[in-house]
Amino acid sequence: MDVLRPQTRLPGALAVLAVTVGLASAAPGSADAQQVAAPDRGKFILGIGGGYAATKTDCSNCGSGEEEAPGEEGATYEDVAIVSISPMWRVNAKAVAGAEVQLESSRENARVLYVMGTVRFHPWASRGFFIRAGFGLVQVKSKLLLPDGTGGTGTYRGIGFDYGIGWEFLKNKAISLAPYGSHYVSTLGSVKVEDFERVNVIGNVWVAGIRVFFN
């Protein structure tokens, strides 16, 4: 049985992501991207980035659901902006590892912060294409209704990971530029928001962004 779901903005988000990364990776002309011998740019890299993200939040009891799409009816979708900062270290010619802090602009009822360990892997040392993955903590600040009827803010923590691809332009220069697409998944366990306990909350965030690396 096909999955019937409400129309979302996700296809558009993924289209933006795919076209961004796709066009970036299609650009073969950059001499820098094809340099073989990379100059020694030191070990420390600071990345600062921003972008667009399509988010989806769901939980086990958020909707009546169907067999193939449990909870789908109760899922919420929002578009947000993200900013990130990532201090990283060059492990070798193909791998860079470090940390990443990413903050989303406010969703309707929540704000999400990611603090993750992250790895960027260049399968070809001389080229800009990279695969990225990360794992770490997610913190969600959410508005909730307290028992006395007043409003408050609850903080919830869980785990998150991400994977994605991108292309680093001007790879061997002091400042490089990397459009990328990434899929962040976070899980919080049970969360009480307003008067409803959401069981096994899981968030999916598709990001299309660009990062500037100070090498």
């Binding site: 296809p11 289209a15 796709g22 769901d58 399968p123 001389s126 096994n200 899981i202």
Partner: protein, 497 residues
């Protein structure tokens, strides 16, 4: 004129652009000046020994610059990628052919299902403990082996494990993509894949010929099917060369135990009956010595079958990712050495009392005293991060599943008195804290104290006695906490290699 496309078509078109574009660096890299001009890569690991050449046993290995050494597999990244896709197609075919009729529908997928899966995102699944904690890591191990069997390094093969898991989750099933499957298949697959890959190389004897050579190649292929198949396709299984040095451990100890296990509950053995078990313990390399950046050049494995529980009731793998001596003078033997290492681990416990599975990274500090060439005392202390663990649920909540998922921490310490590198007396404490993020909301804290005593009786045969005490305290939100205690006793006959 403005072109109007429906969102789904627009996204499909964009994805097509992405896929085609990703192929550009792929084809371009084949013409990478570095690879053209470099030519033959000098052997890194091993070479054909003069003795083999003199004896006329070494057959010429066509070397087009893709092999790191004559006995090494040719380096073929794209063939590895194709094999990962092939492995998924094979698993898919098996599911479609052999699953019950009412389950086959879940494996009949097509582009619309793929798109639904991709746009839906991840959720937690409710497969059985065995499927999720053993089946998926094994599957991930085959993806990983596709890389290793095609000449890729450990770290180059690791993304293949993730790629295989991701494509399986998105494209091969109608079940929604599973977060736990992705993590467990990737990390468990890397640990199991490298362990099986190196174990298979222990069995192969590339200097051998004839029937015994073929028998070894076939048995090795059972451990690591993907590398085995590649070796038969490439006819490497028939070539006489020296074994790649990468796959020759600095030391190897193994013990095979057969005996009975009694597991009590809450300090009582009244209800317990002796359960027969078989166990294999392998120590590959010397984890507590040397400077190393070669992952899994030293690892420890224990595999138990029987003993109350499933066919496989325990599998533990601890592989060294890197190691460095602390203090001392390099290459100068010393009676006492200190060593620091990082480890990657895989755990699977599925017995009649409890279930636990996990993938972790840890760091350990080891001290080794050499009293005589025969006797050594090794003490270890370590701690690490449990990326994702699974533990049996004591209260059922949320998903239709009997265990909970979550990250956590692990720590422990141990002491081992060894004779000819085999443990004579061993005491060990280990603990895991797991914070459930899917399932009943709880923090689980398990502690394990264990004492092993193995007395050599005759040559390689010994008699062993192991006492173990497992304490589990689960702290629940909103319901009573639960304390469980499992004493465990094992008596066994051991054959030591």
């Amino acid at each position: 004129m403005r072109l109007h496309l429906r969102p789904s078509r627009r996204a499909a078109l964009a994805l097509a652009v992405l896929i085609v574009d990703l192929a550009v660096p792929v084809s371009a890299s084949a013409q990478d000046p570095a690879s053209v001009t470099t030519g033959y890569t000098p052997p890194v690991f091993g070479s054909i020994s003069p003795a083999l050449l003199d004896a006329g046993l070494a057959s010429p290995v066509p070397d087009n610059g893709k092999r790191a050494c004559p006995g090494c597999p040719p380096r073929r990244p794209f063939w590895a990628l194709a094999e990962v896709i092939g492995i998924n197609l094979l698993y898919e075919g098996i599911n479609l052919a052999f699953k019950p009729a009412d389950e086959k529908i879940y494996y009949r997928t097509y582009p619309k299902i793929w798109w639904n899966n991709i746009s839906y995102g991840f959720e937690w699944d409710d497969n059985t403990f065995m499927i999720n904690q053993w089946g998926h890591p094994y599957q991930g191990g085959t993806y990983f082996s596709a890389g290793r069997g095609n000449g890729l390094s450990f770290w180059e093969s690791a993304p293949l494990s993730a790629f295989g898991a991701l494509t399986w989750e998105y494209l091969a099933e109608r079940h929604k993509p599973s977060l736990n499957d992705l993590i467990v298949t990737t990390l468990g697959g890397i640990a199991l894949g490298e362990m099986f890959h190196r174990s298979a190389w222990l069995i192969r004897d590339t200097a051998d010929t004839g029937k015994s050579r073929m028998t070894r190649e076939i048995i090795a292929a059972v451990f690591d099917p993907i590398t085995g198949i590649n070796r038969f396709i490439d006819r490497d299984a028939l070539k006489v060369v020296e074994k790649p040095a990468e796959y020759v451990p600095s030391a190897l100890v193994a013990a095979f135990d057969v005996g009975a296990l009694w597991r009590g509950e809450n300090l009582s053995y009244r209800e317990s009956t002796g359960e027969p078990f078989l166990q294999a313990n392998v120590g590959y390399g010397t984890p507590s010595q040397g400077r190393s950046k070669a992952p899994f050049d030293a690892f420890l494995v224990s595999l138990r079958m029987g003993g109350g529980g499933g066919a496989i009731s325990e599998l533990r793998v601890r592989g060294r990712l890197n190691g460095v001596p602390v203090g001392g003078t390099p290459d100068k033997p010393a009676r006492h050495t200190l060593h620091f290492m990082t480890l990657m681990g895989y755990d699977y416990d599925n017995n009649s009392a409890y279930q636990f599975g996990g993938q972790d990274f840890a760091a350990a500090l080891t001290s080794e005293w050499r009293f005589t060439p025969t006797w050594r005392l090794v003490t270890t202390a370590g701690a690490g991060f449990l990326v994702l663990g699974a533990i049996d649920s004591l209260y059922v909540a949320g998903p239709d599943r009997e265990y909970d998922f979550g990250p956590g921490l692990n720590y422990g310490a141990g002491m081992e008195l060894t004779r000819w590198r085999h443990p004579f007396l061993r005491a060990n404490y280990s603990a895991v804290w797991l914070h459930a993020v899917d399932g009943a909301q709880a923090d689980h804290w398990t502690q394990n104290i264990r004492l092993d005593f193995l007395v050599p009786v005759k040559e390689r045969v010994g008699v062993g006695l192991t006492g173990e005490f497992i304490r589990r305290k689960s702290y629940y939100d909103g319901v009573d906490d639960v304390l469980q205690r499992f004493p465990q006793l094992r008596v066994y006959l051991s054959w030591m290699y």
